[in-house]
């Protein structure tokens, strides 16, 4: 993972000519943080087609925001924040197509297709599904914890006090645990 700090006025890191001024080029960022972006998109959008659309929007948002990166936080934090915010705004816009957004989850639950059952049994998939069912404020916290951010980083990112974060995380853990246990039964 690339954890580079940058200060002062940043040259545009989006060009393809290498790591100018400390920020890696866009292609490198995608290689390093692509999986993180993909997982965040997956934890907000279940429908693969819509998820593809969301992933593109996240990449575009990062591309647009990169010149404003001043190295005040780690690049990973900067990217995760953009990915979360874009995902949340994407989810709110999906009110326009609620059927499309909800249909795949219902289908997965209703069809006893062995292949899909196998996928559902997959622990990671179950974790993703359970996360998607969490209320947004709790989902945001749990995703960042699962992504390996420290509590201090999360508190800074969400601009909340550490004890408020602990409380929110505890609620999120309880809800997640209950959902996962139901899934395993």
């Amino acid at each position: 993972m690339v954890e580079l700090q940058q200060s002062g006025t940043a040259p545009d890191p989006r060009g393809g000519d290498g790591a100018k001024g400390g920020v890696p080029p866009f292609e490198r960022i995608v290689a390093d943080y692509g999986p993180l972006i993909s997982r965040i998109a997956m934890s907000y959008e279940a429908d693969p087609t819509l998820r593809e659309d969301l992933t593109q929007q996240i990449f575009l948002a990062i591309w647009q925001a990169l010149p404003s990166y001043r190295g005040e936080s780690a690049l990973k934090t900067f990217i995760a924040r953009i990915a979360q915010n874009r995902s949340i705004s994407f989810v709110t816009k999906q009110v326009r197509q609620p059927k499309l957004a909800e249909l795949p989850e219902r289908l997965e639950a209703d069809t006893p297709n062995p292949e899909e059952e196998a996928i559902e049994l997959n622990e990671r998939e179950m974790l993703m599904q359970a996360t998607r069912r969490l209320p947004l404020p709790q989902r945001e916290v749990i995703i960042l914890v699962l992504e390996g951010f420290s509590y201090a980083e999360i508190a800074e990112m969400l601009e909340i006090a550490p004890n408020a974060l602990a409380l929110r995380l505890s609620r999120a853990k309880t809800a997640l645990k209950s959902m996962l246990e139901q899934g395993y039964e």
Binding site: R14, E27, E52, W63, A65, I88, V95, P135, L136, N163
Partner: protein, 204 residues
């Protein structure tokens, strides 16, 4: 899952995508960046082209009227450019700020858009009246504007039909946009309330 270990779940969560998935992600990102670059270049080119055309028209026809119209067009171009930059800055702030700030700003933006749409919808009849008055005033010059076109049979009816269709289309678009905006606004408000509730209940 009896032992609820977030560290272990984190390991499960952070499984690396397979190489094919990674390649697909790379392809998507490169395509997005390419499109964004092209779009930025086209924006600049379009602004230069429009500006050049306006300047050319003013130079080719140096009359006070053309000068006023040309200056007006350039001012409109500049204002729209500045507005777009402002909107981009706001969007950037949304992206890099906290979720609650983003929700607040989204709510404000949708409220403003809804107000504009409602204003336009209620202003449509006024625009219609204005258009009829304008058409009546311009009537004697119609030949000069449309030239030989006004001689074509059904031209007037077709012209009127196009206008009515455009106005109906605009009306329908506005009604749909207002309804969609209202539901989006409700959803955003519900989310913001959820955040506030969570924050208040977590307060020491």
């Amino acid at each position: 899952m009896s032992d609820f270990d977030l560290d272990r779940l984190g390991d499960v969560w952070r499984q690396q995508p397979d190489p094919a998935e990674m390649e697909r992600l790379q392809r998507t990102a490169i395509a997005v960046a390419r499109r964004a670059r092209i779009s930025a270049i086209l924006d600049v080119c379009a602004a230069i082209a429009v500006g050049a055309v306006v300047v050319f028209l003013v130079v080719a026809n140096p009359q006070p009227k053309t000068l006023v119209l040309g200056s007006g067009a350039i001012v409109v171009l500049l204002v729209s450019n500045i507005r777009q930059r402002k909107l981009r800055k706001l969007a950037l702030k949304d992206l890099t700020g906290t979720t609650e700030d983003m929700l607040d700003q989204s709510i404000t933006r949708i409220e403003t858009t809804l107000r504009h749409h409602k204003f336009t919808l209620w202003g449509l009849p006024l625009v219609l009246i204005g258009a009829f008055i304008f058409s009546a005033v311009v009537m004697p010059q119609r030949r000069a504007i449309f030239g030989g076109l006004s001689q074509i049979p059904w031209f007037r009816t077709t012209w009127l039909a196009v206008w009515i269709a455009a106005l109906i289309g605009l009306g329908v678009f506005l009604v749909v946009a207002i309804r969609r905006g209202a539901s989006e606004l409700n959803r955003l408000r519900a989310m913001r309330d959820a955040y506030r509730q969570e924050r208040d209940s977590s307060a020491p």
